[in-house]
């Protein structure tokens, strides 16, 4: 009977999962972004008229990624994984591309959800 309680407790923890974070960037804010914007939890890259939005967490161990303007790379400051501005893995221990975040772009601005 004790084993039956394992999935119960395992799933109980999901009750404490925080609500997804909703972020909205207005048209004005978007126009001020030249190439890259580092939000607290996300990275927004503007390539011409196209937008790419990624989680700011490194896929290796979750460090907050930063931007190297000299090399135009997205860099993990902890273990030195590197990614292109379109989120592709270049080198380092991460071995995976950046996690893209779903977003919606309309005439008012850009909204995204981080869960």
């Amino acid at each position: 009977m004790g084993f039956l309680s394992v999935p119960f407790f395992k799933n109980l923890s999901f009750l404490s999962k925080p609500a997804p974070k909703k972020i909205f960037l207005s048209k004005d804010e978007l126009s001020k972004i030249k190439e890259i914007h580092l939000g607290e939890d996300f990275i927004l890259v503007k390539k011409g008229q196209r937008y790419f939005v990624f989680s700011r967490r490194c896929p290796h161990l979750g460090c907050n990624l930063n931007y190297d303007p000299e090399k135009e790379w997205i860099v993990c400051p902890c273990h030195k994984s590197k990614f292109t501005l379109t989120g592709e893995y270049i080198e380092g221990p991460a071995k995976r591309d950046l996690k893209p975040l779903p977003f919606e772009l309309n005439e008012r601005g850009l909204s995204l959800e981080i869960s």
Partner: protein, 282 residues
């Protein structure tokens, strides 16, 4: 003076000043921590810390004292452990007693590490993210252990903060109940350890690291692990970090293998400090 424990083994006397310094700094750390906890709120960690440094009377000194004394306690406890192994003091102790001594080092390591996370500056946030993701790589137990001890992404710092407080009292109670006699420790001729430690934080500033840019450094004692994580899978690094616990414990279970185990320990430390050195080199 009656010390209550045979302080001499065939290999020589134990370095008592190390043990007294470790215990004294632990006491100072816990007491300064009590006063800091009145002003620290885990749901506003960095703000609380900045308020402590800026507005709380003697807050900056208290925080520096807490930080400094914890570091001294950790280093001296580790050296005390090595000294006990070198002079085979574990032979004079029972298996359970030795287990608790080794365990106390790991608890202090955990407390010091959670202290770094609770700073919530960039070093703290990164350290928190790394440890959470490392534990999650553990098969079967990883998720549950993370939920119990960290779960920073889900619940913030509440669990880390409470473990930090609870384990500090658990450790100090355990040490004074099972390891050190309070009467001997709080005698007048031991007060010099307190007086030596108390003024030092006036002369050094232990600053926060709000932004480290393209290269971030974690707590100094985990720099080796940080470097290892660049090359090895997090699970292997995690198991490697735990393996020193097994080495320390093995001394009392296999006393005849002292030389082999000492060899393993030296090799372990050599590799770990090698990676630490490597981190600063490149």
């Amino acid at each position: 003076m009656k010390e209550g424990f045979p302080l001499r083994s065939p290999e020589g006397f134990i370095i008592l000043p190390l043990a007294w310094l470790s215990a004294s700094s632990l006491v100072i750390s816990v007491f300064s921590g009590i006063f800091l906890s009145f002003h620290y709120f885990y749901y506003q960690p960095l703000e609380s810390l900045l308020k402590i440094i800026t507005f709380v009377p003697s807050g900056k000194y208290l925080r520096s004292l807490h930080y400094f004394s914890s570091q001294v306690a950790l280093i001296t406890l580790f050296l005390h452990l090595l000294d006990s192994i070198y002079k085979k003091f574990y032979l004079l102790k029972g298996k359970i007693s030795w287990f608790f001594l080794v365990f106390s080092f790991f608890i202090l390591l955990f407390i010091t590490f959670t202290g770094y996370i609770l700073r919530a500056d960039e070093t703290g946030v990164l350290a928190g993210n790394i440890v959470e993701n490392m534990i999650l790589t553990l098969p079967i137990l990883g998720n549950s252990l993370n939920k119990v001890f960290f779960a920073i992404n889900e619940a913030g710092l509440i669990k880390v903060y409470h473990w930090h407080l609870f384990l500090s009292f658990f450790l100090i109670a355990g040490i004074f109940l099972f390891h050190i006699r309070i009467k001997i420790f709080f005698s007048w001729n031991r007060t010099m350890y307190f007086w030596t430690l108390l003024p030092i934080p006036f002369f050094f500033e232990f600053s926060l690291k709000p932004f480290q840019g393209l290269s971030a450094r974690g707590p100094w004692f985990f720099v080796g692990a940080q470097e290892m994580l660049k090359f090895f899978h997090p699970l292997w690094v995690f198991l490697w970090l735990l393996s020193i616990f097994v080495i320390f414990l093995s001394f009392v279970f296999f006393p005849k293998r002292h030389k082999v185990l000492s060899g393993f320990l030296i090799l372990y430390l050599f590799i770990y400090f090698g990676f630490t050195f490597f981190f600063f080199l490149f």
